[in-house]
Each structure stands twice: as structure tokens, then as C-alpha cells.
């Protein structure tokens, strides 16, 4: 994963609650065995509607998605994160994220920016009013700001994830530094635990 320090750019408003991962990337797309090319399927069914916000010229080039509450609920499909990244989003702002989706985001360097309902509402309104509004998400400081309209907010990130994002570290590599501990744990496992081997 690439290091992520600051995401700065315009935003696209998706003023809907409970946007589940089936909407983010419909299941037809899940048959693919590749990791790339999912941007074309992002919000696949909603995009058929010409008035859907993704089809509006004024939001072309947005790198931040501002969504309603409970974004990324449902299916564990990481394809949702791949689709958002492939389309060009680098951060998603909401008041609440599905647990698995948020986890998948930080593994791939897509920022799940969880803000207060007040900040989320004012950002949504501000982006609708001015599609060219610049928003900056700062991973190190844990802040989201739109200085032109005086919006400032913070978002939580555990220190480990923050460090991992800032450095672009590979989780597996980090864990394998503790391989001796895994081996030691394995030696203590009860023998009656099941094996899948035939």
C-alpha cells in the first residue's frame, strides 16, 4: 500500500444513509478474479440513472466521497474498496462505517473518515452548494477541514493504523516479525482442536 498522509481535493456528495457494499459494487462484478478495473462498476445500478450524482459533470475529479450515515454496511467484499479507489476516491466521509468495510479501507489506503453528524451535515450541504469546494483530510493530525467555509472536524484513528497508513506498511510483513510468537502459540494449542485435513 502507498503511504497516505494528506488527501486534498473536491468532494462528491452522496446524501443517502445505509449505503451497503452491494450498492457500492454489485455482485455481478464479484465474479472477477482480478483486483483491478472495479471503478467501472462503482455504484453500478444507481449510475444507470442519469441524475445520479456520479453522473454530474460538476463532481468529475472528486477525490473525497461525503456520504450519509452507515456507509459500507453488509457484505465483506473488499471489492467495494477497490472500486472506490479505482474510480479515484482517496477518502470517504460518514458518521458511521460498517466494521468490515472500515477495516478493508485501511488495508488498502482508502481513508474512512468518521466525523460527527454536525460536521457530516455541513460538509454535505457545503459540497452541494459549491462542487469546487476544497476539502483536506490530514491523517497525521486526524482532521478534516474546508477552510473556505470554515468547517473543521476531527476523526478517530487508532495509533497503529495511523502509523501504518502514514508509512504505507504491509500488515503481513508486520505480523511476520512476530513469527516466533505464532510458533510458540501453536505449541500450546489443545490437541483436540479440529483439523480440516482429511
Amino acid at each position: 500500500m502507498k503511504p497516505v498522509r494528506i488527501v486534498s481535493g473536491t468532494a462528491l456528495p452522496l446524501d443517502r444513509s445505509d449505503v451497503d457494499t452491494d450498492q457500492i459494487i454489485p455482485s455481478d462484478w464479484l465474479k472477477r478474479v482480478e483486483r483491478t478495473g472495479f471503478g467501472a462498476g462503482l455504484f453500478g445500478e444507481w449510475r444507470d440513472d442519469r441524475d445520479f450524482v456520479l453522473n454530474k459533470d460538476e463532481y468529475v475529479g472528486a477525490t473525497i466521497l461525503v456520504a450519509g450515515p452507515n456507509f459500507g454496511t453488509g457484505s465483506s467484499r473488499e471489492h467495494a474498496v477497490w472500486a472506490l479507489l479505482d474510480y479515484g476516491f482517496e477518502a470517504v466521509i460518514s458518521t458511521r462505517f460498517g466494521d468490515i468495510f472500515a477495516n478493508n479501507c485501511t488495508k488498502q489506503g482508502l481513508l474512512p473518515v468518521r466525523v460527527s453528524p454536525e460536521v457530516a451535515r455541513s460538509l454535505l450541504d457545503a459540497v452541494v452548494a459549491d462542487p469546487k469546494l476544497e476539502i483536506t483530510v490530514d491523517v497525521e493530525r486526524g482532521t478534516v477541514e474546508a477552510p473556505a467555509v470554515g468547517i473543521e472536524g476531527t476523526f478517530p484513528l487508532d495509533e497503529f493504523t495511523r502509523t501504518r497508513l502514514l508509512n504505507g506498511w504491509d500488515d503481513i510483513g508486520l505480523t511476520l516479525r512476530h513469527e516466533d510468537r505464532i510458533t510458540a502459540y501453536e505449541a500450546t494449542r489443545p490437541a483436540w482442536r479440529p483439523s480440516a485435513a482429511l
Binding site: K31, R32, N70, G74, I100, N103, Q108, D171
Partner: protein, 470 residues
């Protein structure tokens, strides 16, 4: 640890700590990693790219479920992309030495059906799978949760996962369920109460006399839908029902090992006095069959009531979501649920395709006929469920009533195989998600129990078994 009362989730968590360090997530050992064709190919690619192997193929098991057709399974799969994905699963498992139950194998089935069925899912284990309904296995007293593909790769490579410890939530259901009210209705009522986000960041432990009285199949249905309430995992403390279910299963401990395991499992239930971060209580006696009316599982009401008015919701976001859902679902506020006609009935999915679900539906359908013009299909959760049902003659009951009797798989739960709804088609489904387009683009899904699904197939509109003329 001695002295401080602990929850079931605490005990499983702490017994799987490989490493715990200040300011870092805990590193948990994973006892069982279940794999299927959809969320694993990119993880295996990642391993190859990094030159890594699978640390514990013996703790990993794969099956084909999401893509598999439920008819003509002896012929090549028509959809070339689905076919390729299934071939890739088989090839990856062969390359890395993982046991795989592909299409046609006697052990094949929906991944969350076969884990418990083979006796692989046991109390006190940590179980993961690249699928959000992994919470199902929590019914056996395991800590089981869904993961993304990056985490699948992580588990393949290390047999561990770095995890931040979740909060705990007790959902207590006390009392006796009225006749005709099932595990599915319990969990739909819970989700209706807590909302789609109520369990986020939490592990739910389902407790109380109504949960204790459920069979293992019923407990699996309840735990299965924890994620629909936002909780990554749902658990039920192991008890004699659990042990009776497990004893003698293929991968369950035998002889002296069984006794050792029992000693351990009996120590798992939450200690008296242990506290939960959140608590919710429901009275079983007040529950009724539930039907979803909207496009998320929290948009649910009793079968005895009507489609709610969006204006009745206090929160603006909920109001807007309700209004949008009614447009998508093509129904009007105020319509009595029992007056909504359906086109299709689907009995299946990791929520409700176990033998007990099929028995419940067949009991309703015996001597009845599906309403003319209505499409009705039963998709057993696994080959073993299918064989058991056939041995009991249930397939004959379904067929005589006008249901199609299919081969096992995820099928119309998520429409990755040819079983799909057409735009505008309305379905009473025993699955877990009524999301827009979940069962096919433009399809309209209402989630119900197997008993309600069966009665609805006969009536041609939502209804419960007691409405049928015998």
C-alpha cells in the same frame, strides 16, 4: 484473570492471544479459516506475488458456493466468468495444499452450512472467512467473523489476524416464543430494534431462555444475521444442545479428546456478574412473525401490521431512507403486510437452508399447492442437507406443492448464479439481505422465516401458516 468475571467473548479472545502490546491491535490466532471462490482469488495472487505460502493448510478449508448453479450441475457452467472463478479456487487449493469441496462433492455446500455440519466449527474457536455471514458459527460458542480479502491473505500467510478488541453487547430474549414464531423472527425483531448500525464495533452475545430453547439450527439463524445489525460477530454460549449437535460429527473430537474438549467448553459461558458494554432485552412472548418492507433489514415490521409512513420516523435520514425504499419496493405506506402480493418465494441461503428450515417449510406445505403463476424454489444449504431432506421425503412434499427442488449453493440470496429476480419482481425470501438489487437488478426482496415463506407461496401474498385451510 482470576476473580474478574468474564464474558464468553472475553474468554475466547484471551485464549487466542498470540501477542498483545500497548498501542497495537492484539494478534489473534485463527483456529479455522473458511474459503470460497469469490473473496479468495486476489488473496492467493497476493501470496504468490510476495512469495509467501499458506502457513496452516490443515486449518483451512474451501468450498464453492456463491457462483454455483442450482440446476444442470452435471454440465459445464454456462457463465464463463463464474466458471473461471470456480476453476481458480480449485487450482489455488491444489497449489497450496488446501482441502476443497468443489461443485458435485458430497461435502459441498454454503460455507456457513458445511462448517458446523462437518463438525469443524466448535465452541471456543476463532473462525474467519471472507464473508460477512461468518457470524453464523458463533452459534456454537465460537468467535466467528467476516473479513476482507486483505485479511484473507493475512490469515493464509500467518494464521493470525491483528484485531482491535471489540466491545460487548448482550441481547437477552427471555420467555417462550408463541407458536409460529421462529429464530428468524427473533433476529429480525432484534435488528428492527437496534438498527443496521446498533451493533457496530460490538460482539453480540445472545442470551436468555428463548435463545437457550432454540435448536442449533435456530441459533445459527440468529447469529447469522448479527452483521445485519452491524455486529461483526454474534455468539451463543455452548450448552448440552451444542454438545449433542457436535458429538459424533466427522471433525468433532472423539473418545478421551471429546472429554477434554467438553471440560474446556463447559468453562466458556459468561461468568455471573460479567458486564457488557451494551444491553438489549426482548420478551419472546410478545414477538410475532416479521416481514421486511424496505431495502435494509432494519426496515421490518410484524406481519400483522402495515407498511409504515416515512413521516413516522423521527430521524431525517431514516425518513428519507424509508421514502426512497418505498419507491424502490413499489409499495405504499399504510398497506397491510398481508395484502402485499408476491411473485416468487425463495427458501434457502446461509440463514435458512438447514434441515430444520426445510422441515418447517415442508410441514406448512404438506397437502397444499403453490398459488398458480407464482415461482417457488428451495435451495438446500449443502449436499448433506439435501440428502437428509430426501431421506425424509421432504423433496416430495416440496415438489408436490409446486416448488422447484434445487442443488445446493448461495443461489438467489445474492444472484451470482443464474437464479435471479427480474426488475420489479417481488420475492418473499428466507435470506438475509433485502438490499436494492440483491436478488437481481430491480428485484424487490422481503425477508421472512421459512414458515412464512411457505404459507406465502400458497396464499400468493404474505401470510402465516395458520391462515391455510387444512
Amino acid at each position: 484473570m482470576a476473580g474478574r468475571p468474564q464474558t464468553l467473548a472475553d474468554k475466547v479472545w484471551e485464549s487466542h492471544l498470540v501477542r498483545s502490546a500497548e498501542g497495537e491491535p492484539d494478534l489473534l490466532f485463527i483456529d479455522l479459516h473458511l474459503i470460497h471462490e469469490v473473496t479468495s482469488p486476489q488473496a492467493f495472487d497476493g501470496l504468490r506475488l510476495a512469495g509467501r505460502g499458506v502457513r496452516r493448510p490443515d486449518l483451512t478449508v474451501a468450498t464453492a458456493d456463491h457462483n454455483v448453479p442450482t440446476t444442470d450441475v452435471d454440465k459445464p457452467i454456462a457463465d464463463p466468468i463464474s466458471r473461471r472463478q470456480l476453476e481458480v479456487l480449485t487450482a489455488n487449493c491444489a497449489e497450496f495444499g488446501i482441502v476443497c469441496y468443489p461443485m458435485g462433492n458430497a461435502n459441498q455446500g454454503i460455507v456457513h452450512i458445511i462448517g458446523p455440519e462437518l463438525g469443524l466449527s466448535q465452541p471456543g474457536m476463532t473462525i474467519v472467512c471472507g464473508d460477512s455471514h461468518t457470524s453464523t458459527h458463533g452459534a456454537l460458542g465460537a468467535l466467528a467473523f467476516g473479513i476482507g480479502t486483505s485479511e484473507v491473505e493475512h490469515v493464509l500467510a500467518t494464521q493470525t489476524l491483528p484485531q482491535i478488541r471489540p466491545a460487548t453487547m448482550a441481547v437477552t430474549v427471555d420467555g417462550a416464543l408463541p407458536a409460529g414464531v421462529t429464530a428468524k423472527d427473533i433476529v429480525l425483531a432484534v435488528i428492527g430494534r437496534i438498527g443496521t448500525g446498533g451493533g457496530m464495533g460490538h460482539v453480540i452475545e445472545y442470551r436468555g431462555s428463548a435463545i437457550r430453547a432454540l435448536s442449533m439450527e435456530g441459533r445459527m439463524t440468529v447469529c447469522n444475521m448479527s452483521i445485519e445489525g452491524g455486529a461483526r460477530a454474534g455468539m451463543v454460549a455452548p450448552d448440552d444442545t451444542t454438545f449433542a449437535y457436535l458429538e459424533g460429527r466427522e471433525h468433532a473430537p472423539k473418545g478421551k479428546a471429546w472429554e477434554e474438549a467438553l471440560d474446556n467448553w463447559r468453562s466458556l459461558p459468561t461468568d455471573p456478574g460479567a458486564s457488557f458494554d451494551k444491553e438489549v432485552g426482548l420478551e419472546a412472548a410478545t414477538l410475532t412473525p416479521h416481514v421486511t418492507w424496505g431495502t435494509n433489514p432494519a426496515q421490518v415490521v410484524s406481519i400483522d401490521s402495515s407498511v409504515p409512513d416515512p413521516d413516522s420516523f423521527a430521524e431525517p435520514a431514516e425518513r428519507e431512507a424509508a421514502a426512497r425504499a418505498l419507491v424502490y419496493m413499489g409499495i405504499d405506506a399504510g398497506t397491510p403486510i398481508r395484502e402485499i402480493p408476491v411473485d416468487t418465494v425463495f427458501i434457502g441461503s446461509c440463514t435458512n437452508s438447514r434441515i430444520e428450515d426445510l422441515r418447517a417449510a415442508a410441514a406448512v406445505l404438506r397437502g397444499q399447492r403453490v398459488r398458480p403463476g407464482l415461482r417457488a424454489l428451495v435451495v438446500p444449504g449443502s449436499h448433506r442437507v439435501k440428502a437428509q431432506a430426501e431421506a425424509e421425503g421432504l423433496d416430495g412434499v416440496f415438489r408436490a406443492a409446486g416448488f422447484e427442488w434445487r442443488e445446493p449453493g448461495c443461489s438467489m440470496c445474492l444472484a451470482m448464479n443464474p437464479d435471479k429476480l427480474s426488475p420489479g419482481e417481488r420475492c418473499a425470501s428466507t435470506s438475509n439481505r433485502n438490499f436494492e438489487g440483491r436478488q437481481g437488478r430491480g428485484g424487490r426482496t422481503h425477508l421472512v422465516s421459512p414458515a412464512v415463506a411457505a404459507a406465502t407461496a400458497v396464499l400468493g401474498r404474505f401470510g402465516s401458516p395458520e391462515e391455510l385451510v387444512r
